[in-house]
Symmetry: D2
Subunit: 137 residues, 4 copies
């Protein structure tokens, strides 16, 4: 039912470290790019959500396993998939895969909370978003 | 027995995002700074470990809860504490605290593996390091 | 003669700062992405150059003017254009433009040197690269 | 007359790239840390400037020469020195030096403009700041 959204990511020098591989914190950036593009694919622009409703999604918790390193110039795929929907929370599973999808590089779980952009207090997810998340095209 | 190591962190513009708070992936950088300084305080320089033994510590898994946001110009404390010692693995608990220690901003668990710097294969932790980790001054 | 190469860049949270705009150092990342993709379009993969010839391009000098700020979620264009070719040096002009190209956000000059990947000593640019740079398709 | 302000910088993995050296854009972060700490040493907190006066300093132009690479774990010094003071502009010269000051790693010029934090329009520098900049202790 919940489809897996995929977004291509290229590894540039900015993403790597002196170990010769992608710096561990930077996979979180790749994951966020995939979530942003997933929301956009559902029809939602986060700058509009903020302007129109004073709402943003923030990361409340995150866990990630590093299974295989990505290197400079690699073409990767970042995935995003809803695993649980609450009143103000979304749980997502996200993978970083090699370009040919034959290797899982990282495996992550992310808990997002929908909050007011100033107070950071949890808010009910706007119904049109909830609908779109529940019924992706 | 295992003492909590503390390292001061200042929040600069580079660490923040347009939400007005520290970007979620950047807390991982603060945590790594604290681990690096904890190893240095025990007497180990990671560039020397790499040169002398071809060994590096890599992050194998990580989980983090975001409890309260840090903002531009905040003075923070990043902690590092060993919670488990294996043959080639270390488990650490790490907090990011407000300067006065009255607020926990993030709470994280990090699993480190001691690997060969080229093959990234797990290796037994060098005995002098294991000794130092077990018996901090 | 020298065509202007263009590469699309999307602004994510990772790129912004608490001022609400793209952090000034991050435009340099956008510029490097464009240079990397320009080289790729000419047929050169930098990881291959490094492996096959032990050669990398490094930034020797850079100047940038910040004319108009980019914001979260903006779709931008990063350009790359050769302005001078030396034995071991390339001079490039690079712009960051708004998506519709009606606004110049930043204007930069970058001097690249072709160096040995270990010694960082300048080297004559490999002839096939020089040919491609001089005669882009 | 204008003293050179110095701020220590340690190179962590986050700062390096797969070339084994500090990623070129990250020296700009080191330079900004030094500017922030220089302002703080003069008695000004940028979050207070923003809150009290709706003013921020932004980088209007920047040029940098990369003379010698910094590596993982290096202890560096970032300097900041005023070279010109205008109504709404400051020109600064900034170096990144090796710990023992015997090597210049980068040499940079930065033009800062004092702007309104919302409109980004140039503003006269607040007199107390101008006084402090002109007469450092």
């Amino acid at each position: 039912m919940n489809k897996v959204f995929e977004w291509p990511v290229r590894v540039y020098y900015e993403d790597t470290d002196a170990g010769g591989v992608v710096y561990h914190a930077n996979y979180l950036k790749f994951m966020e790019r995939a979530r942003t593009e997933w929301l956009r694919a559902l029809g939602f622009e986060q700058d509009q959500l903020r302007q129109d409703y004073q709402r943003i999604f923030v990361v409340r918790a995150l866990s990630i396993e590093y299974l295989s390193p990505a290197r400079f110039n690699d073409a990767l795929i970042a995935t995003a998939e809803i695993t649980e929907i609450g009143k103000s929370k979304l749980e997502m599973q996200q993978y970083i895969l090699s370009h040919e999808r034959e290797r899982i590089l990282t495996k992550g779980q992310v808990q997002l909370v929908y909050v007011h952009s100033e107070s950071f207090r949890p808010q009910r997810i706007t119904p049109v978003i909830l609908d779109a998340v529940n019924n992706p095209l």
